[in-house]
Amino acid sequence: MGVMADRLGTSLDTQTSTREFGSWMAAEQRRIFLLCRRMLQDFEEADSATQDTFLKAWQALNRPEFKEIDDAGRWVTRIAVNTCLDRLRSRRWQFWRKRPNQEDEQSILELAAAVGPNAEDRVFGGEIGQRLENALEKLSLRQRAAFTLRHYEDRSLAEIAEILDLDIGTVKAHLFRAIAKLREELHDLYFRE
């Protein structure tokens, strides 16, 4: 049983459990929020998906039939990815849905993002990184999930397979296709002089 499972065990009384849950959530929150933002490409929806993710985690932990978890980080990542995939699937039916305009989105992002470590990194992450994030729209849902977990979280293929509930061969196929579709962006990211 992992450390987190000890800390988040159902045997704890509710108040202690809330505190323990809070400190674990604070440690995972930024990563989960950024994962949701990259998956959903929408700031407000990512905020909402992050909240849903931790709410689902809390509800799962408080179920009497809850089983021990080995890796709480991977477990919550799986919840987050599934939450995002559900939202992306339901988005297909929301033909009336409108993306916030570019200016609004930019101002929201500026509000949320603090100043980076140095100007070069900001430009690096800002220009090419942003282009790559936007290009994720080209990918199918599974390709997007597999690529996001590999590219941004450096998850192994076995971990991605577990998170997405797929076999490793399928994960490889999704990654191959994702890399092919993102050919130009990845070229500029890694090989542009």
């Binding site: 849950f21 929020f33 949320a112 993002a113 603090a114 980076g116 450096d154 890694y190």
Partner: protein, 133 residues
């Protein structure tokens, strides 16, 4: 000696290609792989997110943790089920009305005879009315 291509490097970066003998022995390719590894490491650094935003998000999550589930949540299936039942009832009612409206054979023959014996179609009758004084 054939150097690794851009595709080889991309596949290697994303775990789809293993290091081979060439990469181990070729200084040029080895150097390129190191450069790419560093670029990738920089890309993986999580961008900053403001503490105020994260704190507000946590507050919102805490609020939701202790909210009782809404009644509508437990009854979320009630509306679709009610709509399906209503539609099924409507279809049944429609069928019942149709079967009640079936005319008898006697009435049908009588109507057909009347049509056959009529000199002009019934639809003309309103036209005649127009010219009546």
């Amino acid at each position: 000696m054939k150097h690794w291509t851009e595709n080889d490097f991309k596949e290697w970066l994303y775990g789809l290609k293993d290091e081979d003998q060439h990469l181990k022995e070729c200084a040029e390719c080895r150097g390129e792989s190191e450069r790419l590894r560093m670029t990738r490491a920089r890309m993986m650094e999580l961008p900053e997110v403001s503490q105020e935003f994260l704190a507000a998000q946590r507050r919102s999550i805490y609020r939701r943790l202790h909210e009782p589930r809404h009644t509508w949540f437990t009854l979320r299936w009630a509306l679709p089920v009610a709509m399906v039942l209503l539609m099924a009832f409507g279809v049944t009612l429609q069928r019942a009305r149709r079967s009640a409206a079936v005319i008898s054979d006697e009435q049908l023959f009588s109507d057909l005879t009347a049509i056959e014996q009529s000199a002009e179609p019934k639809a003309i009758a309103p036209m005649h009315k127009l010219f009546e004084e």
